[in-house]
C-alpha cells in the first residue's frame, strides 16, 4: 500500500509541475510577451520579479521532465543519482515555495501566488500554502523509490487509480484555482467586452448580402472610418449614388458567428440627409450598444 502511494507521486508531481509551467506559458502566448505574462505574482520583489518568474517556469519544466525521464530504468536504479537529485530538487522547490508563500501572505495579503498563471490571482490563503506543503511531502517520499513499472495486476492498477484519485481530490480541495477554472469553462464573454480584430469584422462585412447590394456604390478603396460602440462595429465607406457624394455606413454586430447581422445606411456626404436604410425589423436585433 505504501509502495503504491509512493509510486503514484512521481506522475502526479510531474503533471502538476508541467501544468504550472504550461499555464504560465499560455499566459505569455496570449499576452504575446513573456514579460507581460510574468508580472502578476507577488511572490518576488519587483526588481527581480520577472526574471525570477521566468526562472521558476524553467525550473518547473526541468523538474517535471526530469521526474518523467528518471522515473523508469534510465537513471532510477535503487541508488540512481539522477533520480535522487531530481526528486530532492523537487522537494526543495516545494519547500521553498511553502516559505515564500507564507512570507508573501504576511507581507502582501492581497497578492495571488501566480502558481498557475492568471488562474492564481486569488489572495494566498492557507489552502495554497498547505498544497505546497503536501507536494513537498509527496516529493520527499519519492526519494529512494525504485524504478516505476506498469502495474503487475488489475488489482494493483485499481489501487494506483484509487490512490491517484484520492490525492487529486485532496489537491483539488486545496486549489483555489479550481473554482476559477469551473467558472471560466462555463463563461461566455458578453459581446460588449469581446476583443475582435477589425480584419475579422471587414471579412464578415465583405461576405454579407448588404455589402454585395451596396458595393457598386463604394468608391473608396479602404474605409473612411472604423469605430466600435459596444456590440457594434461601424465601417464607413465613401461612395457615389445618382451623382451625389454619399457615405455608406455599415454596422456589423460583433459575434463569433460566421455571418453576423449587418445593417446599412446611406447618407448624403454634404447634407447628412439619410438616403437609404436597410429594413431593421427583419434582422430581429435590438439597437442596444
Amino acid at each position: 500500500m505504501l509502495t503504491t502511494f509512493r509510486d503514484v507521486q512521481i506522475p502526479l508531481l510531474a503533471v502538476l509541475l508541467l501544468g504550472g509551467c504550461a499555464s504560465k506559458g499560455w499566459r505569455a502566448l496570449r499576452a504575446r510577451s513573456i514579460l507581460a505574462a510574468m508580472t502578476t505574482t507577488g511572490l518576488f520583489p519587483l526588481r527581480s520579479g520577472r526574471s525570477a518568474m521566468v526562472a521558476m517556469c524553467v525550473t518547473e519544466l526541468g523538474l517535471g521532465l526530469g521526474l518523467i525521464v528518471t522515473a523508469g530504468g534510465i537513471g532510477a536504479s535503487e541508488a540512481g543519482l539522477p533520480a535522487t537529485v531530481v526528486r530532492a530538487g523537487t522537494a526543495l522547490f516545494f519547500l521553498i515555495a511553502v516559505a515564500a508563500l507564507n512570507e508573501t501572505r504576511q507581507r502582501r495579503p492581497q497578492a495571488g501566488c501566480g502558481c498557475f498563471g492568471d488562474l492564481s490571482e486569488t489572495p494566498i490563503g492557507w489552502r495554497t500554502i498547505t498544497r505546497a506543503g503536501v507536494l513537498c511531502a509527496a516529493a520527499i517520499v519519492t526519494i529512494g523509490l525504485p524504478p516505476l513499472h506498469m502495474p503487475s495486476s488489475p488489482t494493483t492498477a485499481g489501487l494506483w487509480l484509487a490512490t491517484a484519485a484520492l490525492e487529486l481530490s485532496l489537491l483539488a480541495f486545496l486549489s483555489p484555482e479550481l473554482g476559477e477554472v469551473l467558472v471560466r469553462l462555463g463563461y461566455s464573454e458578453p459581446c460588449e467586452l469581446r476583443r475582435l480584430p477589425v480584419g475579422q469584422t471587414l471579412t464578415a462585412l465583405h461576405s454579407s448580402s448588404q455589402w454585395r447590394r451596396y458595393a457598386g456604390q463604394v468608391s473608396g478603396a479602404v474605409p473612411a472610418d472604423v469605430w466600435r460602440e459596444g456590440c457594434w462595429r461601424f465601417v464607413v465607406y465613401q461612395g457615389s449614388a445618382r451623382g451625389r457624394r454619399v457615405d455608406i455606413v455599415f454596422a456589423v454586430y460583433l459575434q463569433a458567428r460566421r455571418r453576423p447581422p449587418v445593417r446599412v445606411a446611406v447618407l448624403d456626404a454634404d447634407t447628412d440627409e439619410v438616403l437609404g436604410k436597410a429594413e431593421l425589423a427583419s434582422l430581429g436585433l435590438s439597437t442596444r450598444l
Binding site: Q110, A111, D225, W227, R228, W232, A265, D272, V274, L289
Partner: protein, 359 residues
C-alpha cells in the same frame, strides 16, 4: 480585398487633432444606421452639423479664464471669448490651496468658476490654479518630491508635497514609493504640482496589479454606477466638455499608444493597457461615442462625448464617498469643465456617478 489595408489609419489617435470632425460625426452616422435614442439632445450630432468639434458646446454653469482684476463683488476675467465681467454672489467662496474670500485671489491666476443658476450671471464657487496628478510613482527624491507617470497619453509630472500637507497626504497614501499609485490635488506651478489634498485613498496593491473584476454573464449592465473623477486639460481645449473613457476599443484606439509607451522597460512605470480591464467591466467604446453621465450628489446629468483615453482610471479600484459610498471603480475621467458643469466640487476629487451608454 479591401480589408487588409492599413488598419492604423482608423485608430482613434488621441493626439490626432486633425480628426475631431470625424469623431463628431460618428454619433450622427450611428444614429442613421441604428436609430437615435434622443433626437432632441444630441450634442455631437448638432456640432457635426455645424462643422464644429465634438464637445465644444457652450458652458452653461462654468466660466474659465485668467484673472485681470478682482473685487469683493466682481471678477474680471480674460477668457477665450475676450474680457468678461462676472458678478460674485454674496456667499461666493474661492479656493486657492484652501478656502479664502474671492477678493484674496491674485491677478494672473487661472480660475474656473461656477454659476449658481443655469446661464445666470453670478458665480458662487471659484477655483484658482487648481491642478491634479493621477498616476504611478516612478521616482522619489527626498521626502516630498515625486515623479509621477500618468500613462502613455499624458506623460510624466513632478509633484512636490507641501510641508503643511505631508501628514494629511501620508495618512491616505502610506506608500509613497515607486510602483504605487497616487492621486493628489493641489496648486499648479511652473513645471510641478504642489500637492495639498489627497484625492482618494491609496489602493493597497502595486499599480500593475489591480484586482480582476467579477465576470459578467449576459450583457454588461446599463446604466453603470461608480466614481467619476476629473483630469487637467493637458493638450485638450480647457473648455472641452467630454470625458476620458477607461475602455476604448483596443483594436482601433489608445491601446496602440500604450504599445509605443516610452516607459516600456522602466521598472516602475505601468502601462494601464497591459493590466487588464480594471475593476469595472465597461463596454468597449470609441472616441466620439456619447454617454449620459449623472452626478448623483448634485442630481445633475448631461450627455457627453468620449474625447480621450482614460486607461489610467482602470488602475484605481476606489470608491467615492462624496455623498454616500459609490460602487468600486472609476467609470469616467471628466474634463475639468465637464466636472464643474455637472456640479462637481474640484477639491473633493470625485462624485458618485451613473453612466448610461449611448444616452
Amino acid at each position: 480585398m479591401r480589408h487588409s489595408a492599413d488598419v492604423s489609419r482608423w485608430c482613434d489617435d488621441v493626439a490626432d487633432i486633425a480628426a475631431p470632425a470625424r469623431f463628431a460625426r460618428r454619433p450622427l452616422l450611428r444614429a442613421a444606421v441604428l436609430g437615435r435614442r434622443d433626437e432632441q439632445e444630441h450634442p455631437s450630432a448638432a456640432t457635426a452639423e455645424n462643422g464644429a468639434e465634438a464637445g465644444t458646446r457652450p458652458l452653461v454653469y462654468t466660466v474659465m479664464g485668467w484673472i485681470l482684476d478682482v473685487s469683493p463683488h466682481v471678477l474680471v476675467l480674460h477668457t477665450r471669448q475676450g474680457e468678461q465681467r462676472v458678478p460674485l454672489a454674496a456667499c461666493a467662496q474661492a479656493w486657492r490651496g484652501g478656502k479664502l474670500p474671492p477678493a484674496a485671489l491674485r491677478r494672473g491666476d487661472h480660475v474656473i468658476a461656477r454659476r449658481r443658476l443655469s446661464g445666470g450671471p453670478a458665480v458662487d464657487r471659484i477655483w484658482a490654479q487648481v491642478g491634479r496628478v493621477t498616476g504611478t510613482i516612478v521616482e522619489r527624491e527626498g521626502p516630498a518630491t515625486l515623479l509621477i507617470d500618468e500613462g502613455p497619453a499624458k506623460g510624466r509630472k513632478i509633484v512636490v508635497i507641501a510641508t503643511e500637507a505631508v501628514g494629511r497626504i501620508q495618512v491616505r497614501f502610506p506608500r509613497l514609493e515607486p510602483g504605487y499609485l497616487i492621486d493628489v490635488i493641489g496648486l499648479k506651478h511652473d513645471g510641478f504640482l504642489r500637492a495639498l489634498i489627497p484625492a482618494t485613498s491609496q489602493p493597497p496593491y502595486r499599480a500593475g496589479h489591480p484586482p480582476a473584476p467579477p465576470l459578467v454573464s449576459g450583457h454588461v449592465p446599463d446604466p453603470v454606477t461608480g466614481t467619476a473623477v476629473w483630469h487637467e486639460p493637458g493638450e485638450e481645449p480647457e473648455d472641452l466638455l467630454g470625458l476620458a473613457y477607461p475602455a476604448l476599443d483596443p483594436e482601433t484606439s489608445c491601446e496602440r499608444a500604450g504599445a509605443a509607451h516610452g516607459a516600456v522597460g522602466d521598472l516602475h512605470a505601468v502601462d494601464p493597457h497591459a493590466t487588464g480591464p480594471g475593476c469595472v467591466r465597461l463596454p468597449y467604446l470609441s472616441v466620439g461615442s456619447t454617454l449620459r453621465l449623472r452626478n448623483e450628489c448634485a442630481k445633475r446629468s448631461q450627455l457627453l462625448p468620449v474625447t480621450s483615453c482614460g486607461a489610467m482610471a482602470r488602475l484605481f479600484c476606489d470608491r467615492c464617498v462624496t455623498c454616500g459610498t459609490s460602487r468600486k471603480g472609476r467609470i469616467a475621467d471628466l474634463t475639468l469643465a465637464a466636472f464643474v458643469e455637472l456640479g462637481g466640487v474640484l477639491e473633493d476629487g470625485c462624485f458618485n456617478a451613473t453612466m448610461t451608454i449611448g444616452g
